[in-house]
Amino acid sequence: MLELNHIHKYYNPGTVNQMCLFEDFSLRIEDGDFVSVVGSNGSGKTSMLNIICGSIDVDSGNILVNGEDITNKKDFLRHRKIGRVFQDPSKGTCPTMTIMENMSIAENKGKPFNLGRGVKKDKMEYFQSLLRPLNLGLEDKMHTKVGALSGGQRQALALLMSTMTPIEFLILDEHTAALDPKTAEIIMGLTDQIVREKKVTTIMVTHNLRYAVEYGNRLIMMHEGNAILDKSGTDKQNINADEIMRVFNKISIECGN
């Protein structure tokens, strides 16, 4: 279980540019939830993910994982239990290393990075068996540098890499936004499959309202640092994209844009 309690976060505190992002923001995510988060730009979606992952600090409030306070835990320590996929496909992989090498380091997550051999040849079969269901032909390019792959291929690889080892949370930050519609579908299908198989608690930020409606068992709409809409269970199943769009338009008009 993940809890954000009374989070306060200001940008540029103490200056004329002070901007309040979160004021007393609280959120609770149960184990096994697949939460879709939507909202306009600047509503605090990505900042929320950054706060959970430790990429940015909070001014006050605390973050609890299964009751343990991780507010002051360093980002890389938190990531030992978190898999994260970014909007930018190049952030989840190493461009100058081959697919084999990338998967090897991902597979070693949680184990010491010592002077043992970086690539173990006997893992080749296993890695290829993970890549084959994607139907992107990556299993035949094990020794190709990832920098030579397309955005969609990289993102698929990044998603696989982030979920290769046991994790408690999967954080998806608009991970289909930079992809063409067809590739986005493939990646979304893969995401859903991984989440179901591994039963990992997932938070997915997306601008695609259809994905938000179609996938996951809970939907949150963020606006000005608050969750203005939070549907789960049967409410979530019955919701449709038009309804969300209406709420979305309403808040946009209130904002004057």
Binding site: F76, R84, K91, C94, K109, G110, F113, N114, G118
Partner: protein
């Protein structure tokens, strides 16, 4: 002939330094100026130890470790104190100048008549007299090849993979649950260990330590790395490490050529700098490397 030999001797020795610069500049994307201080530090330590009668072979691991410590300090200044990469190196370079004077005790410390790894009784017995002239270059070649293969091996380990990953995409390293700052410190440490080892060899080849011998080391190293990386980009025959070694030899050759055609020896640093500029202009990949990650 002696000119060509000396180009090869010095080229091989500087190639070890260039391998260190390759780690910081190409892999970590960190323009490390520390090398201008850690290179002569190797020479200073070597001069003092050899004058004290320490076995010259022993100076190699001692310098390697000392350089590693210097690299860790640069890394700590950059990572923990959040000083920009270039500035962290300049601070270390400036500070090390005085440290080197303290180590050596004076600005110039010769040890001409002492045994070195290039000149000792064992080697004199081993090499027949007709090979005597080539003794130094052969030993330089052997050491450089060993260092190159050790570095290749390290780069293929898990730890080496992390080092490559942190320069490529440090977000991924964080995602793997590893402290990216620590990986950077390890890289800087290894790089400066190699540079100091190179300084140790250089001192033994020259037979003295001089406090100014480090000036321009970073520029020379970068030149070697950039020549090697851009000339042999298309060849998959060579590993990058091999191209760096060859790049360094070519660069040393060019500088020697400029002196040979009549430039005064005092213009050496100017030639070093101008040649580097020419190489930078001729190679196109400098653009993306200019972005500095603080």
């Amino acid at each position: 002939m002696s000119l060509i030999l000396s180009v090869f001797e010095q080229g091989m020795i500087y190639a070890i330094m260039a391998l260190g610069v390759y780690i910081t500049y190409k892999i970590l994307d960190f323009p490390d100026m520390t090398v201008d201080g850690s290179f002569p530090m190797g020479a200073a330590i070597t001069a003092v130890l050899i004058n004290k009668g320490v076995n010259p072979l022993l100076t190699l691991p001692i310098c390697f470790v000392a350089g590693g410590v210097v690299g860790i300090i640069t890394g700590l200044i950059h990572v923990k104190l959040k000083v920009r990469d270039l500035l962290a190196g300049i601070i270390m370079m400036t500070g090390l100048y005085s440290v080197n004077l303290r180590i050596a005790g004076k600005a110039n410390l010769p040890f001409y008549n002492q045994p070195t790894i290039f000149e000792n009784d064992f080697l004199s017995a081993l090499f027949p007299s007709w090979l005597a002239n080539y003794r130094t270059v052969i030993i330089c070649l052997i050491i450089t090849i060993i260092v190159k293969y050790l570095l290749d091996w390290y780069m293929s380990t898990k730890s080496g993979f992390l080092l490559r990953a942190v320069g490529d995409n440090d977000t991924l390293v964080t995602s793997l649950g590893v402290d990216k700052g620590l990986v950077r410190i390890v890289g800087l440490s290894l790089a400066n260990a190699l540079v100091t080892l190179s300084g140790c060899l250089y001192a033994q080849q020259q037979g003295f330590f001089d406090s100014t011998m480090g000036t321009g080391t970073a520029v020379m190293g970068l030149a070697g790395v950039i020549i090697g990386a851009s000339l042999f980009k298309k060849f998959t025959l060579f590993k990058v490490t091999a191209s760096v070694v060859i790049g360094m030899l070519l660069y040393k050759g060019c500088v020697a050529l400029a002196i040979w055609v009549g430039m005064p020896a005092s213009d050496m640093k100017l030639i070093t700098a101008v040649l580097f500029l020419i190489i930078l202009v001729l190679t196109s990949d400098r653009k993306k490397k200019v972005t500095v990650h603080a």
